[in-house]
Symmetry: C2
Subunit: 397 residues, 2 copies
């Protein structure tokens, strides 16, 4: 089926081997995976159930439903699980004893589920394996990078259409709806997964003028007004006007693999300070991206971006006007917010195969937001850009 | 701004009073709310921070960002919170002592967040308040019901368009994309929140022929093939063909308030057993909806639906072919999966103001799915239907 992304089964074997090496280094006996994304990432199937990966040996993929679909999709043999109650017995039968300590996904697993597991595996020693899981997922294979490239093509197609559509009097929502429609026709699945608790996103943000300067509670440099106090980010019913800076911050999605890109449009000539700040953002992106190579820490990229921004007249508007976010980029794969975070204090060194979005943005509360964003993969000799849209400001007359 | 739903401040006062009465009945001293939806529901703002509601007295709304936006949106006074570390001090200062036991949202709160709170409020006694929160949220005000009505109008508009668009050779995804575009133009926010862990949904499902019969790991009677093994539900690239039963299961969303409706289309004459099963689904919905009134337990509705389905030739296909879901409906509000669940063993009696979707569906693994779904509110004298689209099978020649 065109666009129905399936990865070769070997892909999943490499992932499990990498996780096992990370578990061994942390002294963990194994992990119990329950969250959708992690189960998918290590097995190839999202079908409902549990995955146990011991520090050595093959995983147990126990599926409640749909068993037939899981068998067809999984890179590992699948065991039918009649009920959650049967899991403890199945795990002990499979591995002889319970892998211990048994890591769980404490960053995403609700307390209720964790307590259920503690009761089910009475007396077991549990630990947090979030870091080992996220670190394993940070290194992308060429298969994954190719999937992301296709997601980047979706975004490029949609963005190349915007200049022909946007006009004064249109609302942010109307423009956003038209772009989303185009993305869907390109194969975009619509759903964007975020790992961070309380973090939501739709396809991305289409923001204009003052709407772009609107802060929100979400941990993003730009958020917008949104559709209501509840869906308080993204496109709103604000009308796009002459002089507005229009942020088109979109994610492509190919089989769940994401690409994150921001381009800036202007309806009529863009005025200062927005024009100068946009040029500064592009220059910061170029300089920071040129630093990204194996061994450089993710936080160094953030510090560099802040240093460069502070040397412009717009430093106080960098990454927020007032409340600022403390990152200038983030990893992405099948979730938006993966390792590495190009953030204050996130000292993890970059490695080959890490994919990240770099997004220097300046926010002017009363004028709007300007900035740029591209997706990169870390190669042995530097960062390769995966997004392909031209970076210049697009002025629509 | 048109469509930017804000509720009167009194609305939130009634919600807090209802929660407090439920907390008192359960012997809880208060709740600490962290999840987006719950904070929004009790305050009117989703801006980032924490909400503490004591069993008596006014809530504390502590906001990190955006403070100004929270002040504008919240029904309660807002306190600025510089960092999470300051929360324990602020709570003790506000209430004199920590409300105890302090309920948390164990059904949605990740372990990592809960452990952080246990450390922050060292020595405090915590408890699960999920049930009290969900039970409070189950009773809708007339303001909420009106918001849901508007969401139902969105869906009706989109559905009324389908017969003019669908044609053989179109993919499920193309049809779905066109419908989603229409919904967005009607004010739909795009995002649909589900509370259940590992449960995802997009606008809903557009499924056709064998694609409708495809089971998945999600806890829904119909799921479809989806866009990939990762996004394994909803519309796929399957081509719609003559003879296909086409399920259009859509959610409207107005300021986050949802409406859930399913209608059935057929490209050409629908064949048996699908035709007979659809008629049976409509009859089951009518009979079960007629039973819904205050005092009747939610599980009785499920049991009645199963009893009625078993009396047809299609009993084994009811709510699944093989693996079945054990519910025939679910509450909804700002999340899809609210109380009451019309499910096996869910004995909660219906009350005035509860809103639920009722969805009798028959699934034939090799032929597809047929069924219907409408959204109702429980009134003193019975269920009032909020969805407005005609219920008949729509045959497109």
């Amino acid at each position: 089926m065109p666009g129905y992304l399936t990865l070769p089964k070997d892909e999943f074997k490499g992932r499990v081997a990498r996780l096992q090496s990370n578990l061994a280094a942390a002294g963990l006996g194994g992990v119990l995976l329950i969250q959708n994304t992690d189960r998918y990432y290590f097995t190839g199937t999202l079908q409902s159930g549990f995955v146990v990966i011991p520090v050595k040996g093959d995983p147990l993929v126990a599926v409640r439903k749909d068993y037939d679909r899981a068998v067809a999709e999984s890179a590992w043999p699948v065991t039918k699980l009649a009920s959650t109650r049967g899991l403890a017995h199945l795990v002990r039968e499979t591995f002889g004893e319970l892998p211990s300590p048994l890591g769980m996904e404490y960053d995403v697993l609700p307390v209720k589920q964790a307590k259920m597991m503690e009761k089910l595996f009475e007396g077991a020693e549990f630990a947090d394996a979030s870091h080992q899981i996220m670190y394993t997922r940070a290194i992308k294979s060429e298969e994954e990078i190719d999937a992301i490239r296709i997601a980047c093509e979706q975004v490029d197609r949609a963005v190349s259409m915007v200049a022909g559509i946007v006009k004064p009097g249109m609302t942010e929502r109307e423009l956003s709806a038209r772009i989303e429609y185009e993305l869907r026709l390109s194969g975009h699945a619509g759903r964007i997964e975020m790992r961070g608790f309380n973090q939501w996103i739709f396809y991305g943000h289409v923001l204009s003028g003052r709407g772009g300067g609107e802060p929100s509670g979400f941990d993003m440099p730009t958020s917008g007004i949104g559709a209501s106090p509840f869906i308080s980010q993204g496109a709103s019913d604000k009308v796009i006007e002459i002089g507005d800076a229009i942020t088109v911050d979109l994610m492509g999605s190919n089989g769940g693999y994401l690409c994150d890109q921001t381009r800036l449009f202007s309806l009529g000539e863009l005025k200062e300070p927005l024009k100068g700040a946009f040029a500064a953002a592009v220059a910061i992106e170029e300089e920071v991206a040129a630093m990204a190579r194996p061994g450089v820490s993710a936080s160094e990229l953030y510090e560099k971006a802040v240093e460069l921004a502070d040397a412009t007249p717009y430093g106080k508007n960098f990454l927020g006007d007032g409340a600022k976010v403390s990152f200038v980029g983030h990893g992405l794969g099948v979730e938006v917010d993966e390792y590495p975070f190009l953030a204050r204090g996130f000292k993890m060194p970059l490695e080959e195969g890490m994919v990240f979005a770099l997004e220097p943005k300046f926010i002017f509360r009363d004028l709007g937001a300007v900035g740029i964003e591209d997706t990169y993969v870390v190669r042995a000799d530097g960062a390769e850009q995966l997004t392909t849209s031209p970076k210049s400001l697009i002025t629509v007359e």
